[in-house]
Symmetry: C2
Subunit: 428 residues, 2 copies
């Protein structure tokens, strides 16, 4: 574990201690995938009695081999999610796909043995009960042998009882160039019965030769079927992982999944509309949002965490377009890095978003300061005040179109010289 | 004139000497719009007998006041194009619009007097015979008085006979933070008669408080009507000014126009399909392309000029999407700044372009080097060779999808620490 890392602190204040989650096993080991440093790089999230699940994958038309494998195979209850770092298994072709297949066969064999040893009602674990996530270099030969060699050790180390340390170890084992582990949790009730929602993520490590792969994994001891999980994830991903932007780039390997171990006995849930799910729905959103925010906050070279909120729009799509137009604008992002209240660039980004604007109704606030009111510079605007505010580590930009009541919020970071250093100078 | 500027040189080799163009008058003066330095900031392109014209404007939904004014007024023969720098007249509201109107009235009055003094058949010049371009700060009060005060001097200085010096002076007078004037010319024949096509442009000066405004103005002594010019411009803008990308941002003030003085007697042209126009069509494309390329080459902080060529696509739109996905990717652009042959990032950008890819048919070349062949790393690929090539000041990335015969080409530059310095650190 990174010695510099301190439990329970994180610049965004999102960090929370995770504890035991019934039905899970956790293990993180080093398969020596990093040549120059010894670190955990292979993490197993194991589900003793299986878990219903749902997963969303990258929208890129070039998908990594593990994602293709998941799409072809992982349709039933999941017994294990294996995550490796250092190698993305992307652009590795048939060989990369075959590697996952070989690893899946070994993993299913050894986990079946583990079931026989440890469980009262052991299940035969099939390859279609497995799920794979990879992050790291693309185009390099996938280190199948190193991973195969490490699997017995990985399984041997499975912890059936978790504490905050094994969660942090696991959360760190899936990182690439992130500077901090990303962990979040909520507890809530389903029809009066308490359940846990735990989550870990990794973000925007883009140092050559890595990619900006985002991984997010959420675990609950609630008993929720795959179809309901699918709807919950699809709904809650929209304003969480789909509302962050680091540099507008998209990875071959992005993947966010939710697993339900079903260990808690609560009222049976038949549809996603069941009122008993309301609290869970909200809490899941909080967990996903905290993970997503911590990914944005730890974006490469980030010196400031930026929230773009666009309100009073005709529809959510308009709000979203303007949010991302601002969040992805290098001119806005460099102005924020330069602590410069350059509202002209915000206006430029609003203008190019391809949304109809009635200038006379446009309001822009930076932090608590009114900058533009009804399409004109606010009479309250004092550049010094806003310039002072721009020195904060968290910046909020609020835009109101004034033609409706829909809104959207996006999380991003500033664009700094450090980003260029990380991404341009690493090898030269 | 900037002392460091040397006639007839330019890093891209695009620079050419312009000469006299019949029917034109040129004038560039300082209206003291820049407080701390004396430079030309007001330029008049005057057409003695008027010029038929066509103009395309920014697609941003927030347009500057001069663009709005042009859209409302400038529909007939144009007698003068007035360009000011330092102030974009954007987000200046009714006052900014009124300023243009006041300037238009003075300009039309004084140019009418000039007509009476100088022309055999003087014309009354109306405000609808005028066109305005602005570039610079947005949201600042438009310096109407300074410009009004300078117009008599500006008109007084009109040169009816041009040489390369007055063209360079004019081309420099429209710049903001560009490091070089942008000039291009072609001569060609319309049905055996020689005509000239001259062009000047300004590009991506984005130092606060300026915007990435692109201005391009093309002048010809050919006799071509507005309707034909419109079609020619619309067609030729696609693979020239619409094929450059500096940082994906769009200005409130972008404007590209073509003017035809009609001084050369050649075969009358009735439609854009007239075979006599073929040569002109091609030459216009060369002029626009050279101007556009020089804008990209002079993009802020640029250390390398980058050509992205995507070929063998099902349709041009697919090729264009992939071109811009690569050209706008900060990860690709930082890799190029770092002289790093990071083809993984190119693949990432291809994947996210929302175009169907058959990986097995994908080829990627960097310069003359084959990197990806039929979806696999080329057996000829030697990283050292390509790394060496990446040290060049001009980089060509060639992508072939292998599912058609359509293509597109985009021009951009790398993303350097200097870009961040210019855009983030200028005020702090």
């Amino acid at each position: 574990m990174n010695e510099n890392y301190q439990i329970n602190t994180n610049s965004m204040g999102f960090y929370q201690d995770l504890d035991h989650l019934d039905g899970m096993g956790l293990s993180a080991v080093s398969a020596n995938l990093y040549q120059n440093k010894k670190r955990d790089d292979l993490v197993l999230f194991y589900f003793r009695k299986g878990a219903s699940f749902a997963s969303v994958y990258t929208q890129s038309n070039i998908k990594s081999e593990n994602i293709k494998w998941n799409l072809n195979n992982s349709k039933e209850k999941i017994h294990a999610l294996l995550v490796n770092t250092r190698n993305a298994n992307a652009f590795t072709g048939k060989d990369g796909y075959k590697s996952i297949n070989n690893i899946a066969y070994l993993l299913s064999d050894l986990l079946t043995k583990k079931q026989i040893e440890d469980e009262e009602e052991p299940k035969k674990i099939k390859i279609k009960n497995l799920l794979f996530a990879s992050t790291g270099t693309i185009g390099e030969i996938f280190p199948e042998d190193k991973i195969l060699d490490s699997i017995p050790h990985l399984i041997n180390k499975i912890k059936y009882v978790q504490n905050k340390y094994i969660w942090v170890k696991s959360a760190m084992g899936i990182l690439t160039t992130d500077t901090k582990p990303k962990i979040s949790m909520e507890e809530c009730k389903i029809a009066g019965t308490k359940v846990k929602i735990y989550g870990v993520a990794k973000g925007s490590g883009m140092i050559y030769p890595d990619m900006a792969t985002t991984l997010g994994f959420v675990f609950t001891d609630a008993k929720i079927g795959g179809n309901i999980l699918k709807k919950l994830l699809k709904k809650n991903i929209q304003n969480t992982f789909n509302a962050i932007s680091c540099d507008g780039d998209t990875s071959t390997n992005d993947m966010v999944s939710i697993f339900s171990t079903g260990y808690v006995n609560h009222k049976e849930l038949r549809t996603v509309k069941d009122a008993a799910l309301q609290e869970f729905d909200k809490s899941l959103n909080v967990v996903l949002k905290n993970l997503a925010k911590s990914v944005a906050a730890d974006g490469e070279g980030a010196s400031k965490f930026v929230t773009i909120r666009v309100e009073k729009c005709k529809n959510e799509n308009d709000a979203k377009k303007i949010c991302f137009s601002i969040a992805n604008s290098p001119l806005v992002k460099t102005a924020i890095a330069g602590q410069d209240p350059n509202w002209g660039r915000i206006i430029m980004a609003i203008g190019k978003a391809k949304v109809k604007i009635n200038l006379k109704k446009l309001n822009i606030n930076i932090g608590q300061f009114k900058v533009i009111e009804n399409g004109k510079i606010s009479s309250h605007y004092k550049e010094n005040d806003v310039a002072n505010y721009m020195k904060s580590s968290e910046i909020i930009i609020n835009v109101q179109l004034g033609n409706g009541n829909k809104e959207f919020e996006v999380y991003t970071m500033d664009l700094t010289k450090k980003y260029i250093e990380i991404n341009a100078d690493y090898r030269s």
